[in-house]
Amino acid sequence: MITNATNATNTRNVDLYKTVFVCFVFSCVSWRASVSAAAEVLDRVLAVVGGQLITLTDVTAARDLGLQSADNQSDPVRAILSKLIDRELVLAEVERYAPAEPSADAVDREVARVRTRFTNAETFDAALARSGLDEKNLRETLRQDLRIQAYEDQRFATAGDRRQDVIAEWTAGLRRRGDIIDLYLAGR
């Protein structure tokens, strides 16, 4: 019995060893492959709105800098991308009517507000670098946001409590008429 037990134990150990060895070899091959070829998607086009691109780094920037939120959606990229598409449509309307230019101070305040979302300057700079933005880009984004705000304040001033609904309805209209190519929706 002892002999049998020992034999059985040995057999199990050999099986274990074989299994671990195979895992090791596979892992080594995989590791080598990972070091040499595993590629990370740095950036890609997610949508084209009226000829303007929205890229993966736009979504990253909007999320990491706290400019847009995913609202706890199951697909945060989808959620933020939809907001950026709407923003681009609105911005095209804003360009047509050219509302008052925000002052440099107002843009500075917005930049400062974004900075406060980060614990220190390094993390803020790292977030910008990850997103492919520099401070000029961020200023431009925030300037556009202020222009959108000014436009909406001017156009929907009388909407009162219904303001958000009216804006949503207007944006939906822009979406219907807009020239949108949603590559993320196509799942490519």
Binding site: T9, D43, V45, T60, L133, N137, R143
Partner: protein, 983 residues
């Protein structure tokens, strides 16, 4: 045993330890996916491009990416590279992957080329009743074009679903599948249709009081029980019915459908609520209204309504209309009256007396004389008076004062009845404008705030308002726009400029303050050129007025677009902007769509002209005969040669006179022309265009027919917008084929018309000033040309001569004439041979007469003729055939009056003659003609018919066997049929 067994078994403890270690290592060795942050800042080892998985080294890609090997990786550059690649318009998607190799980043750009859908197919139940595949295909093509992008597939699916629903398939299922093909990239899009059950019309109920029997009503709206339910067709049938009822006077007819779907939407039960409304009759009583204005003043038929607001507006319109005509007390109230089934609307029009301006006085205007604005006033003594005209005229005078600096000027109109002369029908009114000029406001100062990029002097230089000059509010607005334009043109696209005047207490001086918010200045970062297949990028770049590093200027972009189109190489050229997300930099995307490189044109046409032909019964004397020449042409062009805006064209035309027996000079010859042209713009990189022409032609003239082969090399340059000049060298060979001249002139003929071919070689220079608003049908401007030519034996010519030709044309649209144009044309031609033994060959001599010179004469038949013949002076032989001359003078004038549509009439007065020598030019020998013509802008081109009459008919000998001294008069009229204007 256990211990031994455990201690000595090969895979014992040590083995287990080894296994555990391996497992640990294997866990550690899992594929690691690096985060984006891990790549940033690391040196780029390689940048590779993959087009659908296949690596490419296309320099078009390499040159526009920002990420370069050796430089640290920056996501800013990655983003920018993606934008550039995508902007090429060749890709559906661009993705950038990164991997680490030996601590260096390898970037992999994955490019998914656009696969235009070149084939759309339909599968599934395409044979279901009522499904028209052709119509569905058209629906897609109408919205998305013949080659729709794959990215629009979901939209196309929605569109097709809607189309099927409109055909009664209310719940269709449409799915799509794409098959991609490569080299060339294209896609086949297949839509699979599952239309489901078709909804049919079930019950049809009609409620209300239809004025038609049920069957007739349903027939008119094309509604049939059991037929497919087509919502849009039902709506259009109802609309048709309503329109028909309105035409019959039932302006308030209504028919409202309601649809109840049943049996799982397989059946649509329709209920039509019909309200026929009353028959409406509009009646005008009292004073008359012009019949052609009634529908406009009372638009119940057009609006399809007798709504009370509409009727109220109609009353107001009638009263305003009459008041404008001077019926100041006009009233046109309306009433509605129901008479049985009819609604009668009556407008009782009472015009009242007509007020007329008896006297118009203007007072108080000391600084601007009445004569400066009187002509522009609407009010005139003796003309109808209306309050509207008074207000308009007061505003006009006020505006004039404001423009002269009297910003506070007011004009107070007063009106009063003239005490005498009143009749029941007419009331004379005295109108007086009291002008309160106020103080003239002068600009005291102009200051700018917020301008950091341009100094005050630079901005002030763009303004019309200046310190010390009168202050004009309207001019201030224009100056504000000018300052704004300065900023916009220099890259400050979001600059805002506010201009505000501040006045001193006396209101005599204005200080103008411009408040400027410049905003960020935008520069051009990259210029990307896409769409050029045959055209060299350098050719495009040379036309761009904006380059990388330049301020982003809309006017430069616009000018660049214009220049690109002027190359003639492109069907479309557009310059768009690409935003970086950087407020100070933009990329420019120049998208061109090349025109077809090869053009082929062909056509047929005809010309009718008078040509002198010899009459045997009149001893060979010339008589003008109308000749019809059908023509055909074929043209081949090839542009964009070798990637430059070079072009080559070959034009050929042939015409055969129909009534050949009349043209004994030409026998059975045909006219033909073969012209090859090579154009090289910007010759040797200069602003000069080069042109090389080769011509082979045979032409029938009135007294001879000739064949010519020639080559011309020309260099032309545009000096200013309206001024250009050219120089040319020409070598040609002329050969006479048939001559028609009188016997006594044989010596002259032998001298003039050499039987041997003649080679001519010479230089010419031209200068052209063209300020016409339209080259084909000008309404204003001038066209002046001066041409000089020298052919000399020293440069290979067999005949040496000098020749000059001057032409001056002027066009004026007459004011208040509904577009009538007065046009004038003057021609002066002078030539002289260097050796009198070798006269100028006839094709180079001057001829006149015909549809483009003097329209009272047949082609070329204008000339000097004496009796008895003076061979040293005459340019018409004794039989009436022209022999041409060394000098010509032609003067033409015409009035072009548009009639309707493309039709216009012309009256003209032409004069001119041809002289044998320049020294013999005698203005008293000019021959005149008057006439008229018709122009019609037909689909085939502008047709022209002119009928001219000689102002003086001469008589010449036309001896016959019976009467050797017989004299025949010239034919007075001359008819010409052709295309285009005479000049």
């Amino acid at each position: 045993m256990i211990a031994r067994a455990a201690g000595t078994g090969w895979p014992g403890r040590a083995g287990r330890r080894t296994a555990a270690l391996l497992l640990f290592v294997s866990v550690l060795a899992r594929p690691v996916s690096a985060a984006v942050a891990d790549f940033i800042g690391k040196p780029v080892g390689a940048v590779r491009f993959f087009l659908e998985g296949r690596e490419t080294t296309d320099p078009a890609f390499v040159s526009i990416v920002e990420t370069t090997a050796g430089a640290p990786l920056s996501m800013v550059q990655v983003r920018e590279s993606i934008a550039h690649l995508f902007s090429l318009g060749r890709f559906d998607d661009v993705r950038v992957d990164a991997s680490l190799e030996n601590a260096r980043v390898t970037l992999r750009y994955e490019l998914s080329p656009i696969h235009p859908v070149t084939d759309i197919r339909f599968a599934g139940r395409t044979g279901a009743a009522g499904i028209d595949i052709g119509a569905l295909r058209r629906v897609v093509a109408d919205r998305y074009g013949a080659t729709p992008p794959i990215g629009r597939t979901s939209d196309m699916v929605r569109l097709l679903s809607d189309a099927l629903a409109a055909d009664g398939y209310l719940h269709p299922s449409v799915s799509s599948a794409v098959r991609l093909d490569h080299a060339p990239e294209r896609a086949t899009l297949t839509f699979t249709l599952e239309p489901g059950a078709r909804t049919t019309i079930g019950t049809i109920d009609i409620t209300g009081a239809p004025s038609l029997p049920r069957s007739e009503l349903l027939r008119r709206i094309n509604l049939v029980q059991g037929a497919p339910f087509r919502r849009e067709r039902l709506a259009s049938g109802l609309e048709r019915y309503i329109q028909d009822r309105r035409k019959r006077g039932y302006y308030e007819a209504k028919i409202t459908p309601s649809i109840q779907l049943a049996d799982q939407d397989r059946v649509a039960n329709v209920t039509l609520a019909v309200d026929p409304g009353p028959h409406v009759r509009v009646v005008f009583t009292g004073d008359p209204l012009p019949g052609d204005r009634r529908n406009e003043l009372v638009p119940v038929e057009r609006e399809g309504s007798v709504d009370e607001d509409l009727l109220e507006d109609s009353t107001n319109r009638i009263e305003d209309y009459l008041r404008y005509l001077g019926y100041r007390e006009a009233k046109a109230p309306h009433t509605r009256e129901q008479r049985d089934a009819e609604l009668v609307i009556t407008f009782a029009v009472r015009r009242g007396p007509q007020y007329r301006v008896a006297k118009l006085e203007i007072a108080g205007n000391t600084n601007i004389a009445s004569s400066e604005f009187e002509m522009a006033l609407k009010l005139r003594e003796g003309q109808p008076f209306s309050d509207g005209r008074v207000a308009d005229d007061a505003a006009l005078v006020e505006d004039l004062y404001h423009r002269r600096g009297y910003a506070s000027a007011k004009v107070q109109p007063t009106t009063g009845l003239r005490p005498t002369g009143n009749t029941a029908a007419q009331v004379p009114v005295m109108v007086r404008f009291d002008v309160f000029e106020g103080e003239r406001i002068v600009v005291d100062s102009i200051t700018f705030t917020g301008n950091t990029s341009f100094d005050d002097a630079a901005l002030r230089g763009k303004m019309a308002l200046q310190v010390g000059a009168p202050y004009v509010p309207g001019q201030l607005r224009q100056d504000r726009d000018q300052v704004q334009a300065v900023y916009n043109d220099r890259g400050y696209e979001s600059a805002t400029v506010d201009a505000r005047p501040e006045f001193n207490p006396q209101n005599t001086r204005a200080s103008i303050v411009f408040t400027i918010r410049e905003g960020p200045r935008v520069f051009v970062d990259h210029v990307l050129i896409v769409g050029n297949v045959r055209t060299d990028a350098g050719t495009i770049e040379r036309e761009l007025q904006i380059k990388p590093g330049d301020p982003f200027s809309l006017s430069s972009i616009s000018e660049s677009q214009r220049r690109l189109m002027a190359l003639g190489l492109f069907r479309r050229a557009r310059i768009g902007e690409l935003r970086h997300g950087n407020e100070t930099a933009r990329d420019l995307l120049v998208t061109v769509e090349e025109a077809a490189a090869t053009t082929i044109g062909y056509g047929v046409g005809g010309e009718g002209r008078l040509l002198p032909v010899p009459q045997e019964e009149a001893g060979g004397a010339a008589a003008a005969r109308f000749q019809v020449l059908p023509r055909a042409f074929l043209e081949y062009g090839r542009r964009n040669l070798f990637g430059k805006p070079r072009s080559v064209n070959v034009f050929s035309s042939v015409s055969v006179p129909l009534n050949l027996n009349q043209t004994q000079t030409s026998g059975r010859l045909t006219e033909y022309r073969l012209l090859g042209t090579y154009r090289e713009p910007r010759l040797f990189d200069t602003a000069t265009d080069g042109l090389l022409n080769a011509t082979i032609e045979q032409q029938i003239r009135s007294s001879f027919t000739f064949r010519r082969e020639g080559i011309t090399a020309q260099a032309a340059r545009r000096l200013t917008r309206g001024l250009s000049m050219s120089v040319a060298y020409q070598i040609q060979r002329n050969e006479l084929l048939a001559v028609n001249v009188a016997e006594p002139d044989v010596l002259l003929i032998n001298r003039l018309f050499s039987p041997e071919p003649v080679r001519l070689s010479g230089f010419s220079a031209s200068i052209i000033r063209d300020t016409r608003d339209d080259a084909v049908n000008p309404g204003s401007g001038q066209y002046l040309t001066a041409n000089g030519q020298v052919d000399a034996v020293a440069i290979g010519s067999q005949v040496g001569f000098a020749k000059s030709f001057l032409r001056a044309q002027t066009f004026h649209t007459l004011p208040r004439s509904n577009g009538a144009i007065l046009a004038g044309n003057a021609i002066l031609g002078m030539a002289g041979e260097f050796n009198t033994e070798k006269p100028i060959p006839e094709p180079e001599r001057f001829f006149a007469g015909g549809d483009t010179t003097n329209r009272g004469f047949a082609l070329d038949t204008l000339g000097v003729r004496h009796e008895p013949s003076e061979t040293q002076r005459d340019t018409i032989d004794k039989n009436g055939f022209p022999i041409g001359g060394d000098a010509t003078v032609v003067l033409m004038g015409e009035l072009r009056v548009p009639v309707r549509g493309g039709l216009s009439v012309v009256g003209f007065l032409d004069s001119g003659n041809v002289f044998q020598r320049v020294s013999q030019v005698d203005l008293t020998e000019l021959r005149g003609a008057v006439g008229f013509g018709v122009r019609y802008r037909s689909p085939f081109g502008p047709l022209r018919v002119d009928l001219g009459f000689k102002t003086h008919v001469a008589e010449f000998l036309c001896p016959t066997s019976d009467d050797p001294a017989k004299r025949c008069p010239e034919s007075r009229p001359a008819l010409h049929i052709s295309f285009g204007q005479a000049f």
